[in-house]
Structure formats: C-alpha cells, structure tokens
Symmetry: C2
Subunit: 109 residues, 2 copies
C-alpha cells in the first residue's frame, strides 16, 4: 500500500552501449536505499505502431511518494542523470501510485 | 524468472467514465487465470513534456510468454478489447521479459 512507481520508457541513441548504461543505473540504484525495487526490460513486440519507437522500460518502485522525491533530489541521481539522458533518443516518464487490482499469488498465505 | 509484462500506457477520450473501463478490465483479469498480477495507476507528474500526454498505466504480469500469448488470444480478451480501444485517445504497448535488477526486500528470507 502506498507504493509509488517511477516508470521510464526510452529509446537509446544508435551506437550507445546499453549494457554500460544499465550497469550505471543498477549501481546507482543499489546504492540508494530508498529504491525498494528496480526492474527493467526490453520490448519484444517490435511493432512501432504499438511501441511508438520505445524499446526499453525501467521501473523503480518506492514505498512512499517521499522516497521517490528523495531519490529524484539526491546528488547521486543528479550526477548520473546527464549520462543517462545523453544516451537517449526519446524518453517518456510517468509516476503513479500503484493500485493492485489483482494481487500476485505469492502474496497469499 | 521468466516473467513477462504486458505494459499499456493510455490516454482516455474526454467524457469516458474511467471507472467503468477499469471495472471491465478488473473483471476480465479476475476471470483469466493466466494473468498472475495486475496493477495500474494514474500519472501524478502531469507534465506533458515527460508523459507525452499519457495518463494511465496498466501492467499485466504473466509467469511465461506462453501465458501472455494465451491471454491475448483468449475470446474474453477479444470480447473486451473493442470496448477498451474505443475509450482511448492514444495507446502505447510494450511487452517485455522482466529483468529484476534490485529485488524487493520482501523477497529476502
């Protein structure tokens, strides 16, 4: 309850070594205690009409909106952001309080 | 391991009763055993430059890519899809195998 997600969809510039960017992001998140959960993935649809050209999803979960604010304002985030942004051809960001409409079976006793 | 997400970002048409659409989707997902987890949320950034006009996120998690394929091809999904699509001004879909870069603390023993 009360969880907030910071969802980031991107398309990398041609020539960018995505693994390097991912390593930078994973290292950053590992250091940042207020990030509860970090998952990412690469689109497999590959249908421009549906994906609108975005190829990667990064999803950060925070226990509270305050934790997200603390993350966004943290100096380590500020230090990494320019490197990340420079690698992107396009980006879309949405922050949202998570509503669980169907809980995962593992949440059951 | 092996989980796949079906991520759907949308902006509803003006006048659409979002709660009705959500109820339809929640009912559908509740009936569909192959959907492991369903969460959604409404953007709180409200910054067009970042969100590109998308306002809602729907995230369906499947244990395997086969489960996602079964969901997409199911007659109940086919029956609901036109109602859903008719409510949308814009939509973006990305399917991706989930890579967990920082596991949630609850996953620890």
């Amino acid at each position: 309850m009360g969880e907030v997600k910071h969802l980031c969809l991107v398309r990398f510039k041609e020539g960018v070594v995505v693994d390097d960017v991912l390593k930078g992001m994973t290292d950053l998140v590992a250091e940042m205690g207020m990030v509860k959960y970090f998952e990412w993935g690469q689109d497999v649809l590959n249908q421009e009409m549906l994906t609108q050209g975005f190829t990667h999803v990064f999803s950060l979960t925070f226990a509270t909106a305050d934790d997200l604010t603390a993350y966004m304002g943290h100096e380590r985030h500020a230090a990494f952001a320019p490197t990340f942004m420079a690698a992107l051809e396009k980006v879309l960001v949405i922050d949202f309080p998570v509503v669980i409409a169907k809980p995962p079976p593992t949440a059951a006793p």
